[in-house]
Symmetry: C2
Subunit: 373 residues, 2 copies
């Protein structure tokens, strides 16, 4: 805790606190801080989970956590906003959403930026070190220099939500998008999929729904077999003909709007529709393939392929199924090749995972610094 | 010709000519008409071909054409502009592009709107009668009421460019997008595909290129086999890692930009790459399937499946191949099931097809009116 304490009691120079506020729309987002009296000793951490559909920010107290962690975890405040994937909504909109949701969580918790010790921003669309650097650079504009900042792909927060902050194992997210992400205890990492709908995320909610819409068009124009998906999807969308699906599809570029059709596809498969069934079977193969690719590259299953490792599973596609249970089928498919996969359904949300990650990363850095002395 | 002559010599009321000009950006597009002295007796027709990549407008004289048609056809002027698919660029931008390209063609031909007798606007993204009605309604704002207006999917112009204005047979377009469109001599019509990249136009240039990009991502993350596409595409785009492809893909929503990678895929297939080869083989199956679906629904091949019918083939994917000849493979695949398919490579461009279609439709309507009397 030496380093943490070092900076904890150093008052941040006023110039450092003020300058960033000026840069962002005249400080509008952070105006509330001027009117707020914050108890000087309460320090906090922020955890953010930004997906293609929504963004969640939680504010947790910066205190030494017991092992095992307290149950329930002390969450001071939670704020929610829209999509913050810069590939989907553009960089300006993504940045504004992230800034607003952090300000909102701090306001709700009765804190402000001067109380923040660490931030973990886990957001989809972080695919390359340049993405990380760009986001870190504008986060640095918002927070004083002693605040520890961590930027990760949102999959990392989802993994941490299942492992309570520990970066070890594999996570499979299948919501609007899909990605598999893995970490070894010695710090290696690998990912598969997560490249968005144009680049083959076929097991994602978007992928499943787009194939279902395609099946309706193909049945209509004679390229594909008849399917119950036609009447179900048209009824669900209030349309009268498959021709109208084309206009509906391109009227709005939101990936989440397409992905919202997944329950209709599951219902049709439950009702015995062969086309819907094949779409879900293919999605299962795709999702399992992503996990297997990551686990094999990292050798999470050991040299003999039998070692146990945590497999965290999250996202709308893996939840709330009816008779057709996508998550169960994916697990069956993975277990055949990787019998040591130990499925975990997180009990906390990914934003809390991000906050725990911020805390763990902070502590690790402090230890390193202590040992360097 | 009775009806044509009836309206030909009726001067259009000035109010009717002026009002539409006011509606569009203060008439800016049509300002040139005020300064132009047009020979009063030269009448013209406009043919437009609007695809996902570019829009072409030709202006032809409105004269009785001989049978067979004169060679070369008398084209007074040709103008070119960008994409006018409202699903791709939005309705406002599409409309502005179409209006500008018509004004440009008229200006170049030394004509203006008062010389126009008929317009055929064949544009991709016309998928439903409501699309047709919406476009007709704003075209009607631009031209006086005696001008005959025809709005069609751009596939119809491509067919007419191969059949010299006759609506009979099937056309296969495979450019940035793909569609198969057929007409019978008694006026029935059918189409397959043409629903855009989200809805399964897998044989299109966009579809081929997106699968190639996907193959690079999958090879990189361990889900798919190694492929020459990786080095070829990265080199072509000036990128250093497959991770960078994600940012490149979503930086610009243009479908044409993705489709422009098709020659790279063909080169890799020519060089023996199995992944590229499979992508092209699948595209061939998809394109052939679209044609077969249309021909069977319309029974263009007769009851016994042996009748001859024209099959017009156009678009970048079907042209300029190297050893791997997509068009030849598609034709082989179609001929197995439909031996009567008679392939035609148009000698004129689709915009000229649209103009011939406008002329034919005009003449047909006049004949009908004569017979009704």
């Amino acid at each position: 805790m030496a380093t943490a304490s070092d900076t904890e009691h150093q008052p941040t120079p006023r110039s450092q606190q003020q300058e960033p506020m000026k840069r962002h729309r005249n400080g509008e987002i952070w105006d509330f801080e001027d009117e707020m009296v914050v108890p000087s000793n309460r320090q906090v951490i922020l955890g953010l989970d930004g997906g293609a559909t929504s963004t969640v920010c939680v504010c947790m107290p910066f205190v030494p956590f017991s092992d095992p962690l307290p149950n329930p975890l002390p969450v001071l405040a939670r704020a929610i906003a829209g999509c913050s994937n810069h590939n989907s909504v553009g960089e300006m909109a993504a940045r504004e959403t992230l800034e607003e949701v952090m300000a909102d969580a701090l306001l709700k918790s009765g804190s402000n930026r001067s109380a923040v010790r660490a931030v973990c921003l886990a957001v989809s669309g972080v695919n390359h070190p340049t993405d990380q650097r760009r986001i870190l650079s504008w986060l640095r504009d918002i927070f004083p220099s002693h605040v520890r900042l961590y930027v990760q792909n949102d999959a990392v927060a989802a993994l941490a939500s299942g492992t309570m902050g520990k970066l070890h194992g594999c996570v499979l997210i299948a919501g609007t998008g899909t990605i598999a992400y893995g970490f070894t205890e010695d710090g290696r990492e690998a990912r598969a999929a997560g490249a968005g709908p144009v680049l083959g995320d076929w097991g994602s909610g978007y992928g499943i729904a787009a194939l279902a819409l395609t099946a309706v068009i193909r049945a209509h124009d004679g390229r594909g077999p008849h399917t119950k998906l036609t009447s179900s999807i048209l009824h669900h969308l209030g349309l009268s003909s498959p021709d109208e699906l084309i206009g509906w599809t391109y009227a709005d570029p939101s990936w989440a709007r397409i992905a919202a059709l997944v329950p209709v596809v599951v219902s049709c498969a439950d009702a015995g529709d062969e086309v819907a069934n094949t779409i879900l079977q293919d999605a299962v193969q795709e999702l399992a393939l992503s996990v297997k690719a990551v686990v094999r590259r990292l050798r999470l299953c050991g040299e003999d392929g039998q070692d146990s490792f945590p497999l965290v599973m999250v996202g709308g596609v893996l939840e709330a199924n009816e008779r057709w249970d996508i998550a169960k089928e994916v697990m069956n498919c993975i277990s055949k090749d990787l019998p040591g996969a130990h499925p975990i359904r997180p009990k906390v949300e990914p934003a809390v995972g991000a906050a725990l990650l911020a805390w763990n990363s902070f502590m690790k850095e402090c230890h390193k610094e202590v040992y360097r002395r």
